[in-house]
Amino acid sequence: MTATLPVYTKKDFQTDQEVRWCPGCGDYAILSAVQSVFPELGIPKEKFVVISGIGCSSRFPYYMNTYGFHTIHGRAPAVATGLKITRPDLEVWVATGDGDALSIGGNHTIHMIRRNVGLKVLLFNNKIYGLTKGQYSPTSEMGKKAKSTPYGSVDRPFNPLSLALGAEATFVARSVDVFQSHLKATLKRAAAHQGTAFIEILQNCNIFNDGAWESLTERDVRDDNTIAIEHGQPLVFGKNRDKGIRMNGIELQVVTLGNGISEKDLIVHDERHPNPAYAFLLSRMDGTPGFPTPLGVLRAVDAPRYEAGMNEQVRLAVQKKGPGDLAQLLRAGDTWEVR
C-alpha cells in the first residue's frame, strides 16, 4: 500500500480558493502547519476528510485540497461521527472554534469525546467570536469587555482542556498558532492517536482580540509563562529552566530548583496515566497565579472506540447469523397463508 502511495508535498493539499481570513490571522499559520503535516502521514490524499461547523476557523475545509464539508454551527462532531461510523477507513479531521465547539456545539463535543470516536479535533481558541464581529466567547476571561458585554462579561470561562478531560478524552493536547514546530509535532501525535484526539490551538484574532495570548507567546515572557510538557520528562520551565512543578498533597506546587530541591523532586510527566485527574490537574494551572500554561500532550491513552465497537457488532452478527436474509426477515414472526 505505502509502496504505491504518491509522494505528496504541501502544495498537494492547497486549493485554488482565495483564502478569506483577515491578514495577520492566526488561522493562516494553522492551515500551513496542517498542510505541511498531511503529506507526511503516509495516507492517500483521498482518504482525508476535513469537517467544520461555523465560524472563522470553520472555513478551513475550503482551503484544504481534500474532501471537505463545511456544515452548520456546532454540528461538525456529529456529522463527522456519522461519517466515521459508516466509513472507518477515512481520516476524519474536525476544524472548530471556541464558540462552535464549546457553546453552540458543546453537547456534541462532549459526547464525541465520551464515545472516543476516531476523529482529530482542532479547536482554534481565540477567546472571541470573530465571524459575528466581536462578541465574548465561552473561553473569554471573566470581565471581558466585548460588543455584547460593554460592562464586562459576568460568566466564568470554560477551560477547553479541563472540559475534554472531564469527558474522559483519551488524547488531549495544546499548541499555539505561532509555535510552528511544536504545532506540527502535536498534529502528528494527534494523527497517530486512535480515538478522539483533541487539540486546543491557541490562536490570535488580530482584529477582535489581538494579543489574547501574547503573555504566552512573546519572546521575553513565554518561557516563564508556559511549560512544554513531554512524556517521561520532569516538569521544568522558566527562562533559566530553574523552576519546576511538584505534588503537594493533592495540589500542584511551583518550586525553584536548588536549595535542596532537584529535578527528581518534580513530577515526571506521564501522558499515559490512567486517571484523567492527573492531566486535569495540569490543565488547571492555566490562569492560576504563578503557574505556567501547559503546552504539549497532556493525555494519550487507549480506550474502546465507538465506530470500532459498532462495526465489530455488525461483523460478529454477520459471522454468527450469516448475512441477513431479507425474504426471511419480512416473513418473521407469525404468518398465515390466505388461499
Binding site: Y67, T81, G82, V314, L330, G333, V338
Partner: protein
Amino acid sequence: MATIETLPRKRETLDQAVIRFAGDSGDGMQITGSQFTNTAAVFGNDLATFPDFPAEIRAPAGTLPGVSGFQINFSSRDVFTPGDAVDVLVAMNPAALATNVADLKPGGILIVNVDNFKEVDLKKAQARTNPLEDHSLDGYRLFPVELTKLTRLALRDLGLDAKSMDRCKNFFALGMCYWLYNRPMDHTYKWLDEKFGSKPVLAEANKLAMKAGYAYCDATEAFQVRYEVPAAKLEPGLYRNISGNTALALGFVAAARKAGITLFQGSYPITPASDILHELSMYKEFGVMTFQAEDEIAAVTSAIGAAYGGALAITTTSGPGMALKMEAIGLAIAVELPIVICNIQRGGPSTGLPTKTEQADLFQALFGRNSEAPIPILAAATPGDCFWMALEASRIALKYMVPVIVLSDGYLANGAEPWKIPTLDQLPEIPVRYRTEREGFMPYTRDPNTLARPWAVPGTPGLEHRIGGLEKQDVTGNVNYEPLNHERMVRLRAAKVAAVVQDVPDVAPAGDPDGDLLLVGWGSTYGPITAALGAQRAKGRRIGHVHLRHLNPLPKNLGEVLKRYRKVVVPEMNMGQLLWVLRAKYLVDAEGLNKIQGKPFKQSEVEGKIEQVLGELR
C-alpha cells in the same frame, strides 16, 4: 391445538366485532390486546387496532389519567378502522370503566373486575357512587367478575406471591374473550413460552389464568351466546400482522438491500418513534448501523455525515424533534445529500400529547425551514403502507440526491393490520451510482433528467472537493455570493424537487370517478374515509376519495380531478393544513372536516360530514 371441553351454547355468527380492553397502565392491557390481535390475525380475520395509552409510564394506579386501552376490530370483511363503537368492553377498574363506557354500544357486553370496585378504588376514579350499583350501566349486559380473586384461586398451587399472581389477571380476561369469540389459545401459549423462556413458572401462571378465564365462561353459564367471526376473504398470499413503525423499519432494511449500500440510522428516543430505533438496532446482520445520538440535532447531522460517506441514511423522530432538526435539513437541501427523515406525528404544540395521534405537522414539513427550502414529502396511509413509503422515500432520495420527509403518525405507528408480505421481486429497484470518473468532475453538475448532482464519496481518488451550507456557484460548487447565481441555485433546487413529480403516480379516485363530492385525505385518515365512502356509496351517493401519499410534489392530475366533483371535503386531524394547500394551489373551494382530539376519526364522523355537505347541495 389446546382444547377445553365446552358445554353446548347458542352460537351466533357475526361479520365483525370490536373489543376494547381497558385497565390501569400497569394491568397489561396492551399485551392482552396484542395477543387477541395476533390470534385473530392468524385465524384469518381482517383487523385494525387502536392502542391508546397515557404518556406516563405508571400514572398513580387506579386513577383516570392512568387508564390504558387497546381496541381491536376484527372481521370477516375488509376492515378500515378500529371501529367507532365497542361490542365488548373489559374494564379492569372504575377509572377504566368511567373513561371508556361511553363508547360501548347499547346492550354491549361489559366485563368488569368487581374486585377493583371497592370504596378506595371508586375514590381514585373520582366516582361518587358505585356504577355497579347505581343503575347507570343498566343499558349494557354487565358481567361483574371477581377477576383478581379467581386468578389467585387458579394460581394458588404455583407458590407465587400475591403481586405476581395479580399480574396474571389480564390473561384471565383474555381467556374470557377467547371463549366468547371461540378462539384457540395455542398461539398465546406459544408466545408465553417464548416470552418467559427463562421463567417457566410465569408462563405457566399466565396460561393457568387464561384457561381459568375460559373455563369460567364455560362453567358459569353467565354467557348464553358464543360468537363466531369467520375468516376474511383477503387477497391470497402470505400475511403477517404489522404496525407502522415495524413496517417503516423493515422498509428501510429492504431499501438498503435493494440499493446495495449500508443503512445508517441516527435517532434520539422520542415517543412515538422510538420503536423504529429499537427495531433497526436488532438487524446488525443486515449491516444496519444504528446510532442513538446525544440529541435530535446530532441524530440528523450524523445521518448527513453518513450520507456524505455513501450510506442510505435516515433519522426518525416526532414533531418536537423535527423542529430541532430543521436547520440541518436545510443543510441537506443545500449540499444535496440523500437522507430520509421520518416524522411520526403526535399531538402538539410543544410536548403536547406524546402518545396521542395528530397530523398537524404538514405545514412544518412543507415550510419549517429558513428561506426557500422545498423538500419532497410522502405520507403513509396505513400501517402496512409505511413499508412501501420507506422504500419510496429512499428511492427518491437516492435518485434525486435530495432529503425526503416521510410523515406517519402515532395511530399508524402503533396500530396494526394484516399485511400481505411481498416477495423480493415485488420490491422496486433502487439503483445507486457513486461517481468515480475524474474526467469532467464538478460537484454541482446535474443529471439533465433528475437534476441530481453526482454522489462523489470521500475515498474516491481524484474527486476531492468541498461542499457546505454557504451558497455555491452553479456547477463548480465553490462558495459564491453573486446575486444571479443565488437566484439560479434557489430555482434549481426547487426545480429538482418539482421534477420528482415524474415519480408520482397520477391519482385515480376510489369510488365514483366524478360526482357530487370528493373526499381528499392523507395519512392515517385512510381507514375512516374508506369506510365512510363505502357506506355512503351503498346509499347511492356519488362520491369519490383521493388519498394522497405524495404531498410534495402533488400528483400532476390532482387539480383536474378536484374539478370533477361539485364539492371537495378534506378530513384532517388538524386545523386544515392540506385544505389550505389545496385551496392555495388549485383555487378550489374545498372545506375541511377537522378533529384535533388526539384520536382518529370515527367512520360516523366522516359520514356525518358527507351527509351535511350533500344536504347543502340539494
